[in-house]
């Protein structure tokens, strides 16, 4: 790891000010991606701004219609939260299948979203549940947050503070997990709400996306059978040593059917 300057601000405003002054700053949340990337010298920030002392970025609040989770809340805390399990069990489940227990004890919601790994789990939940990302400057709807490979709508120095998830009628997350890395080869989050059905896919493309073809079929008939025979195009999907694009396209259908079967 190359050397860098380390900062430990106590407020979001101070963190933003530090980022503005630095050459190439990175915010440090749980560090479960950033620090390994720095060890491999894939990331070489001049300044690391540790968000651990921003206490108001931690915590879970469930109100009548939404679950609001602070950006620095640990995956383990979301997975174990009785309130989240009651309001949106699929969200607690999603947090509980990220990485391994030690990753869940350090990794955070905001860190996962800001990083936007193509195979991360949380983006599927955020997009599937039509969540709102709150930042130090504005609010960003899920549909315009994920822009591409490791690319989000966040501007330089902009900090995620919380995410609010509207509570759906039913939701489920099904993940085909890579056995070594624990990342999603394909993960599908299905949510049924008063406003319709949303199906979000992670692991398959450059970033999480909605499978509108499946959403339309499920809007007419919310059952696994409604998805049978729908052919998902492999165009633009990821092909790598773990899985070819057409296999990932196939898995989207399989995971979606499993998710629907769990809640139909």
């Amino acid at each position: 790891m190359y050397s860098f300057a380390y900062h430990r601000p106590v407020s979001a405003a101070e963190a933003e000010a530090l980022a503005a002054k630095a050459g190439e700053a990175r915010f440090l949340a749980g560090g479960m991606t950033l620090l390994p990337a720095m060890k491999l010298r894939l990331a070489q920030p001049t300044d690391l701004i540790d968000l651990a002392r921003l206490g108001d970025l931690r915590g879970i609040k469930v109100s009548g219609s939404e679950v609001r989770i602070g950006a620095m809340t640990l995956h383990a805390a979301v997975a174990a939260s009785a309130e989240v399990k009651r309001a949106i069990p699929a969200l607690a489940h999603c947090a509980g299948v990220i990485g391994d227990p030690q990753v869940r004890n350090r990794g955070t919601l905001g860190g996962s979203l800001a990083n936007n790994d193509p195979a991360a789990d949380y983006p599927a939940a955020v997009l599937g549940l039509n969540a709102t990302v709150h930042t130090s400057r504005r609010t960003i709807p899920a549909d315009s947050f994920f822009r591409g490979l490791f690319e989000t709508a966040l501007e330089p120095g902009e900090l995620i503070t919380a995410v609010s998830f509207p509570i759906p009628e039913r939701a489920a997350y099904e993940k085909f997990r890579h056995p070594a890395s624990r990342y999603a080869v394909v993960g599908v989050f299905v949510a049924r709400t008063g406003g319709g059905v949303r199906v979000a896919v992670t692991g398959a493309g450059p970033c999480a996306f909605r499978a509108t073809q499946l959403e339309q079929a499920l809007a007419k008939n919310f059952s696994p059978d409604a998805l049978k025979g729908i052919k998902i195009s492999a165009d633009g999907l990821n092909s790598d040593i773990h899985a070819a694009a057409d296999y990932r396209a196939h898995l989207i259908g399989v995971m979606a059917r499993r998710a629907v079967a769990a809640i139909a």
Binding site: M1, Y2, S3, F4, A5, Y6, R8, L28, G31, M32, L35, P36, M38, K39, L40, L48, D50, A52, A76, A80, G99, D100, P101, Q102, V103, N105, R106, A180, S181, R182
Partner: protein
Amino acid sequence: MPTVTMTVNGRAVSGEAEPRTLLVQFLRDTLGLTGTHIGCDTSQCGACVVHLDGLSVKSCSMLAVQAEGAAVTTIEGLSNGELQPMQAAFREHHGLQCGFCTPGMVMSAIDLVNQNPTPSEHDIREWLDGNICRCTGYHNIVKAIKAGAEAMAAGGKR
């Protein structure tokens, strides 16, 4: 170089550490606590698992400065003259061969039992996602953790 202060195995310690110093390097090189191992350096193997404020974490994937003010427990901090029940269970059930992964396995297992005092075999195997053993095939490790959990429940956790 900044000075880092934390509590390690119940003892207040401080030492100089560059910001890029990993917690595992600080524990091993600065404090001489070499029971915490470095196996993979890519956050996957779990040989470096320690407890940070009571939760199991990979000490190769965090900076020493991130542990400022925290309480860290390493494998050396478990025993008070006699083996902690989980350690004793690993010995009793031969939950190791070469032993390299064992410190991480034991620290991870104790975190599991603290959260779930009566884990099933399935719970244990799921929990070991972050700990890799290349000798045993996990069979005896799982047995050891089950027995260790029972011993901890009987004798009170430490």
